[in-house]
């Protein structure tokens, strides 16, 4: 155990013990650290390499969001209040209650220490280790002796004790407590008032130090209680690993033999293996077989029951452990069949004991059981002949072309708060999250909006609300062309999950929410609810509107277990924003969407359906309709108008007609979507129309609006330029 590493300032005792201390050179460390070697560059991560100790940048903060699937999240840094996104390295470890763990185990709001490395942009977002206070204290044999409890004042006076060195007084401190502080003794939860002077305690902190709301979230009284907490966590993590296999990466391949170094803290993994009856050396002498399954860099496996390979353990090597995430255990295994994923630097998981069940990861976590929109990172960069937000950095971005819908994933996604909107000219401005930069945007003719998961007009969007802008470059190469705009409501529904209320802390104006998939059928057709895929803290205030059923409700009406969708506002570098609106329950969500859908349908049937001319051949004109949602669009039409005329008018890029004459045409055919699949702004519906004139007054690329027979025609609204 790298105990000496943990002789670090316990930040809640001396908030900035090292602040202001001179930075010194330290020849022991070949890299820059927080305390020394400023002249050296920071260690740069290398694929497939465990980062060495003493090369990390250490930041503490409160966990405010966790994405279990992608092993990422967000914390609020104690020192600056800034919100920091993080993502665990493949070998990155979570240490919780002094045992190995996963982000799933860590309570929201817990104060954690992050060992960070720079990402491709230079920002410290890559986490090699995450540890809670309990772990930091216990691993160093440090505990607090309670001197005096001032519960009414929300304070505990304690003395720090180093048990290993028999130091009974390593400094005094005051710990904050509040009415949410839980106290654990033996198997019981006791009251704060039950604490007695002389108790040896370990604590975890919750809340923001920056906002001075930090207080003990949990207190464990006595060594037995503390050991039991550790033991429970280890058992939990063991079960977690048994279900998924021990992760590690391949450090060397020679012929059919793979050298796999397992991830994890050495002591922790050894304890787990011992408890499971696995002796790494014995596995070699007994020619044991393990089940090796390919995984991605988020440690997500594909289809273990099918793609797993029985592998013989042929060698056990002890490897250096002075590296983050390296367990020190390296097995050389020989699988029955070599797979593409058995390459140097790739992550695999080993079902190391024959009693471990080999199952797929739960829905949403396994890569092979895809979830819409979660698949992008797994796709080959070759599937995109342009740069995307997740790859192909060496290629140019897709450039909009007249008469062509931009293909799937060609956008650059930026989120922000709508500041200005000119619905007539289809332009506006938003303030980007984090940077606060004001970005002007223009919607191309096929640009669409999904609001409440249904089509909408720019004029309908409330100002100040947070939206996602799917941007393409303009002719100057600036991302100003908003091809699609969605709100958080839509974005969450698109990802197929909703938020489940776990705790409503209205006194602090926060909701703790879990991301949950709807109940679905498993492969045996049994109904089941997949496990949560993430968790986050969201702010509410008295301006937050709550909608339930037909009417408005109050925040106080929210109940644990409610399924919520929200729209947000006010997201900045230091604020996760607050909820403007909360919709409670699946029925409400459906109703809101249906209302918006009906509204949009009426608007379009009045203004005319926008489309462009795809082809003109003789009297035949083929058009393709624009649409925010392919699924919704057919219901906007009255079906294919066989035998009925349609009327259309040529419009400009902003979809206005400027008194152009109405053209009457007959309907001839309905063509399949063809190569428009997955494109932005396209309905996928092509109509072939027949002009009454021998040469229709339309060219390819001309934008039009169209009315079916019997719809109110309002082509002259172009005059009313506000």
């Amino acid at each position: 155990m790298r105990a000496w590493l943990l002789l670090l300032p316990l930040l809640y005792l001396s908030a900035a013990a090292h602040a202001g201390e001179p930075v010194k050179d330290d020849a022991k460390f070949p890299f820059r650290t927080d305390e020394s070697n400023v002249q050296l560059p920071w260690y740069q991560l290398k694929p497939g390499e465990f980062p060495p100790f003493h090369s990390d940048h250490r930041v503490t903060g409160e966990l405010v969001e966790a994405d279990f699937i992608h092993r990422s999240g967000q914390f609020r840094a104690d020192s600056t209040g800034e919100l920091v996104d993080f993502k665990l390295l493949p070998c990155g470890t979570v240490r919780y209650l002094n045992a190995g763990g996963d982000l799933r185990d860590v309570l929201l709001g817990t104060s954690l220490q992050f060992s960070l490395y720079q990402d491709e942009t230079g920002a410290f977002t890559k986490a090699a280790a995450i540890e809670d206070d309990f772990s930091l204290l216990a691993a160093n044999n440090v505990a607090y002796r309670l001197d005096e409890a001032h519960v009414a004042d929300g304070k505990l006076s304690v003395t720090r004790q180093n048990l290993a060195e028999n130091q009974t007084d390593s400094g005094h401190a005051d710990l904050s407590v509040n009415e949410r502080t839980r106290v654990w003794k033996g198997e019981q939860q006791i009251k704060l008032a039950d604490l007695a002077a002389g108790d040896s305690i370990l604590v975890n902190l919750g809340g923001s130090k920056f906002e001075k709301t930090a207080a003990c979230s949990d207190i464990w009284v006595g060594a037995d209680t503390q050991r039991a907490a550790t033991s429970r966590q280890r058992k939990r993590h063991t079960d977690f690993l048994k279900e998924r296999g021990l992760p590690g990466w391949i450090e060397h391949v020679e012929g059919k033999k793979l050298s796999v170094t397992l991830f994890g803290e050495p002591d922790d993994l050894q304890s787990i293996m011992k408890a499971e009856g696995i002796d790494p050396a014995q596995w070699v002498t007994e020619h044991r077989r393990v089940h090796a399954v390919v995984a991605n860099q988020d440690l997500r496996s594909y289809n273990p029951p099918v793609d797993g390979q029985g592998s013989t353990v042929v060698e056990y090597k002890k490897v250096p452990t002075d590296r983050f995430g390296c367990s020190g255990i390296c097995w050389v295994i020989e699988p029955s069949l070599l797979l593409e994923g058995f390459r140097k630097g790739r992550v695999i998981r080993l079902f190391a004991h024959p009693s471990w069940p080999i199952r797929d990861m739960p829905f949403g976590e396994g890569v092979y059981t895809e979830v819409p929109n979660a698949k992008v990172e797994e796709e080959s960069a070759n599937q995109y002949p342009f740069r995307t937000d997740f790859g192909n950095g060496d290629l140019p971005w897709y450039q909009l072309k007249h008469g062509e819908f931009p293909p799937y994933q060609s956008h650059h996604l930026v989120s922000g708060e709508l500041v200005k909107a000119d619905a007539y000219h289809r332009t506006g401005q938003f303030r980007a999250d984090r940077t606060g930069e004001l970005v002007d945007f223009t919607m191309p003719p096929f640009g669409t909006i999904l609001y409440h998961n249904a089509g909408a007009d720019l004029g309908e969007l409330p100002m100040g609300t947070h939206y996602y802008f799917y941007l393409h470059q303009d002719q100057k190469g600036v991302f100003t062309r908003a091809t699609l705009i969605t709100d958080d409501f839509t974005s969450t529904v698109s990802d197929r999950f909703a938020y489940r209320l776990d705790a409503a802390n209205l006194d602090t104006g926060t909701l703790e929410l879990a991301r949950q998939y709807p109940t679905m059928k498993d492969d045996k057709e049994h109904l089941m609810t997949p496990p949560d895929i993430g968790r986050g803290v969201f702010k509410v205030d008295d301006k937050t509107r709550v909608w339930k059923g037909e009417g408005q409700a109050k925040l106080g009406d929210l109940a644990v277990g409610d399924m919520l969708l929200m729209n947000l506002t006010g997201r900045t570098a230091t604020s996760r924003g607050r909820c403007t609106d909360i919709w409670v329950g699946a029925e409400t969500h459906k109703k809101v969407t249906e209302q918006q859908r009906a509204k949009h349908r009426a608007l379009l049937r009045e203004q005319g359906l926008p489309a462009w001319v795809d082809r003109v051949e003789g009297k035949e004109v083929t058009i393709i309709f624009f649409a925010a949602s392919r699924n919704d669009f057919p219901a906007i039409l009255d079906g294919d108008p066989w035998g009925r005329p349609v009327q259309l008018v040529a419009v400009d890029e902003e979809l206005h007609s400027h008194e152009n004459p109405l053209i009457k045409m007959g309907f001839k055919n309905h063509l399949p979507e063809g190569d428009t699949a997955g494109t932005y702004g396209c309905s996928g519906i092509r109509w072939v129309l027949e002009s009454q004139d021998a040469t229709p007054p339309l060219k390819r690329g001309q934008i039009i609006r169209l009315w079916e027979d019997g719809w109110p025609v309002k082509p002259a609204e172009a005059k009313a330029n506000p």
Binding site: L339, E340, P407, A677
Partner: protein
């Protein structure tokens, strides 16, 4: 009649006192009077003679009429009982083993001879010899200019063989069901050859990799991104049925197929191998090694004749691979393949850590099917048949001319007026039914193609029986001997002139025909039948023991032997080369199998051999070594028997019934070689007599395993300890010893006359389409001695044979 003739023949032989027989009859080492009768008198007659007839068998009066099946059955039983040691009974004195062997061999020889006589069907006034499938297909090609897929399931029945020969008249029979097949075949070929409807439109269908592989809505997304042409199909080795697609063919005909692909070859490994296989017609349309890097694809082109219908085409990478058809080998419709560097992690690893090929892999871009392609319209055969063109008067006179001309070509002889009358009647009947002129003519043409005179080679005349062929019959014999097809116009002209049988004319014609590319048919077909190459791969080698064995190797093995024969024929080499040589014909696949470096490509080339290559002649070719093995191990006894049969024309007697099989060695006993087991088996004196002759000829090749690999140790699976060393040494019946296969081959070369005689007999059986009989013996010997005079040169021997009296005899 037939049995009487055979009886007479036998009588003649007996009177001749065995002259020549001892040397030539299989197993003949003495005649009946000297060897067999004394044996029977001494050991059998006491129980099966005048006084007693145990088991209702009396041997002292048993006729020597071996053609009579009832009598032959008795002789067979005698042979089996004495061979197995069952007779004489244990209570009687044991005859010496060599006496038993001699009697058994004599009986076997007589039985074999009788069988030949039956196959020869001597005595028929008119003999009918059905065309083999290969000959039918070739004849249709030359008659109508179209391809008939005779070996497709919808084609003609498989030809049965007799001692490997697939063209023996009495063996090739025709059942009523087969007649229907010939009718269907005629209909099919005429539909393609004649322009009875509008010209079929030639169309091109392209199967892109995206169409083959991409699904789940991803196809349209790729289209929107303009990436469809970047998608490739990664075809793993040994992919079996993973990649298959229906091909709809509207019109039977010739199609041009183009394939764009890369074929990745591992360092020092095999190239990927593309095979397009039509499952419904069980036909490989195309097969070729592909050696083209990922970024340098090639386009291959070939032609295939395809019948109308929907064909399931399998696109196969026909090389051994690690994981046939399991999930790790399968593509995923939603995850298209673009490059080797971006395959799915759960798929089998096809490249090494540096992304260099580790397995032969095909990356397919597209396959294009264009057709039907036609040289002209109407097709050439149509123009030839309706020879007066479009302006002709379409009447019965013209129809008669057409049918007469066509029948003459199809029957390969002048056609009689009454034969034409029958055809014209069919024309007229069709006209009455309202068919147009061309369709009515087609009815007559159909009748021609279903006539005996077309599908049989007819020799002889009921009215004027003759033992010799007339010139037209001679033209067909020569043509089907050398070309496996109908005579061409030049040959028929000579027949019409009545000069073909003249030696100078016949020699000239033989030489012309031997130079023609069509003579390759003989070089291919004769060795296949003589050496029984159809047995190669009959017992598919065990994949676990021989993982590298595949169809390509099997084809290459057979191709070595047929190419070798062709080389001996075309280069005017000697029969000696069949027994031993310092060269062979190899392609890369087979050279790799033999461990010979420096041979590249798929075509077979002549390659010089060094002693350490352990090859030379036919006997050490993998095809021969393989066909004389089973799927798991070599079979020395089979090998020995094959040598006696095919190289000396001297098959051993069949084994007695109920011979006990060799037992596996217990796992706790030392490993035992097959040779040791066989020798232990041979301790039984009754077995030893025959096996002494057979086994050494097989054991000499023990250095070659069941697929013809060279080895010095035998890979023994049962028993404990190390594998036994190979001992290929042996002793011939005449006492000459040899150390190994090399020395045995030298001894065989020293006995070249025996091989020469056997070869001539095999060639004659092939040409005359019947078994050789005593009657032929003198002629065969004459041809053989002429061959010797020409230093055993194959081409000269063939010429001598064609000019011999035998060749012109029925």
């Amino acid at each position: 009649m037939l049995s009487r003739l055979i009886g007479i023949l036998l009588g003649v032989t007996l009177l001749a006192g065995g002259e020549g027989l001892a040397a030539e009859v299989p197993g003949g080492s003495g005649d009946f009077a000297q060897t067999v009768k004394p044996f029977l008198d001494q050991h059998c007659v006491s129980c099966h003679g005048e006084k007693k007839q145990k088991g209702d068998l009396r041997v002292d009066t048993l006729a020597l009429d071996f053609v009579n099946t009832r009598i032959a059955t008795h002789w067979t039983e005698i042979m089996d009982r004495i061979n197995s040691g069952e007779m004489p009974p244990k209570t009687e004195a044991r005859p010496p083993a060599q006496d038993v062997a001699r009697v058994a061999e004599w009986i076997a020889g007589q039985l074999g001879e009788a069988e030949s006589a039956r196959q020869a069907a001597l005595g028929e006034k008119v003999s009918f010899r059905l065309l083999s499938r290969e000959e039918y297909r070739n004849t249709i090609r030359d008659l109508l200019g179209v391809t008939y897929d005779a070996t497709d399931p919808t084609g003609l029945p498989e030809d049965p063989d007799w001692q490997g020969f697939e063209r023996i008249g009495t063996v090739l029979t025709l059942s009523p069901a087969h007649v229907e097949k010939y009718l269907a075949a005629a209909e099919t070929v005429l539909n393609e050859a004649l322009a009875l409807g509008p010209q079929p439109k030639s169309e091109t269908v392209r199967w892109t990799a995206a169409r083959l592989r991409v699904g789940g809505g991803v196809y349209e997304q790729l289209a929107a991104k303009g990436l469809l042409d970047k998608v490739r199909a990664d075809i793993v080795p040994n992919n079996g049925a993973l990649d298959a697609r229906d091909l709809k063919i509207e019109t039977t005909g010739e199609y041009v197929v183009r394939v764009k692909l890369s074929g990745l070859r591992p360092a020092n490994g095999r190239a990927a191998r593309l095979r397009l296989y039509a499952t419904d017609i069980s036909r490989t349309l195309f097969e070729q090694d592909v050696d083209a890097p990922e970024d340098q694809p090639v386009t291959l082109e070939f032609r295939a004749h395809l019948p109308a219908g929907t064909h399931l085409i399998r696109i196969v990478n026909a090389v051994p691979g690690p994981n046939p058809e399991e999930r790790a080998s399968r593509p995923l419709g939603t995850k298209p393949f673009f490059t080797m560097k971006a395959r799915q992690p759960w798929q089998i690893k096809l490249t090494d850590e540096d992304f260099k090929p580790a397995w032969p892999t095909i990356l397919l871009d597209w396959i294009e099917w264009e057709g039907p392609v036609q040289k002209s319209w109407p097709p050439p055969a149509h123009q030839l048949i309706f020879f007066k063109g479009e302006s002709a008067t379409r009447d019965v006179v013209y129809a008669r001319e057409i049918l007469s001309r066509f029948a003459e070509r199809a029957y390969r002889r002048p056609v009689r007026p009454e034969e034409v009358d029958r055809l014209v009647k069919l024309f007229e009947y069709s006209q009455k039914l309202g068919d147009n002129f061309e369709t009515s003519v087609k009815t007559g043409l159909l009748a021609v193609l279903c006539s005996n005179n077309f599908i049989y080679l007819v020799e002889g005349s009921a009215g004027a029986p003759s033992p010799r062929l007339n010139d037209f019959e001679l033209a067909s014999r020569l043509s089907y001997f050398l070309w496996s097809t109908m005579p061409d116009e030049h040959l028929l002209d000579l027949a019409r002139q009545g000069t073909l049988h003249q030696p100078d004319v016949l020699r000239e014609e033989f030489r012309r025909m031997a130079q023609d590319p069509k003579a390759l048919a003989f070089a291919n077909s004769f060795p296949r039948q003589w050496l029984q190459l159809r047995r190669v791969g009959m017992f598919e080698p065990d994949k676990k023991i021989y993982p590298e064995y595949d169809e390509y190797l099997e084809k290459s093995m057979v191709a070595e032997t047929t190419s070798y024969f062709r080389e001996v024929m075309q280069q005017h080499l000697s029969l000696r080369d069949f027994l031993d040589s310092d060269w062979t014909m190899l392609n890369e696949r087979l050279a790799k199998h033999y461990g010979i470096e420096g041979v590249n490509g798929e075509a077979l080339h002549r390659v010089a051999l060094k002693p350490e290559d352990h090859r030379g002649g036919l006997l050490t070719q993998a095809s021969i070594l393989s066909l004389t093995s089973d799927g798991t191990r070599h079979r020395p006894v089979h090998r020995g028997k094959w040598v006696l049969e095919s190289m000396f024309g001297n098959p051993p007697p069949p084994p007695p019934p109920n011979v006990t099989a060799l037992k596996p060695t217990p796992q706790d006993k030392p490993k035992t070689s097959l040779r040791a087991k066989i020798e232990a088996h041979r301790d039984d004196a009754n077995c030893a007599a025959c096996h002494r002759k057979i086994d050494p000829l097989g054991l000499a090749f023990d250095n070659y395993d069941a697929v013809g690999h060279w080895r010095t140790e035998e890979d023994v699976r049962d028993g404990a300890g190390s594998n036994p060393k190979i001992d290929p040494s042996g002793e011939l019946v005449d006492g000459r010893k040899f150390a190994d296969a090399v020395e045995l081959k030298k001894l065989m070369v020293a006995d070249l006359d025996k091989f020469n005689a056997a070869f001539v007999k095999k060639m004659a059986t092939y040409a005359l389409r019947r078994g050789m009989t005593f009657d032929d013996r003198k002629s065969l010997a004459d041809v053989a001695s002429q061959g010797k005079a020409h230093d055993y040169q194959l081409s000269a021997l063939m010429e001598d044979f064609v000019l011999s009296d035998l060749f012109q005899r029925r």
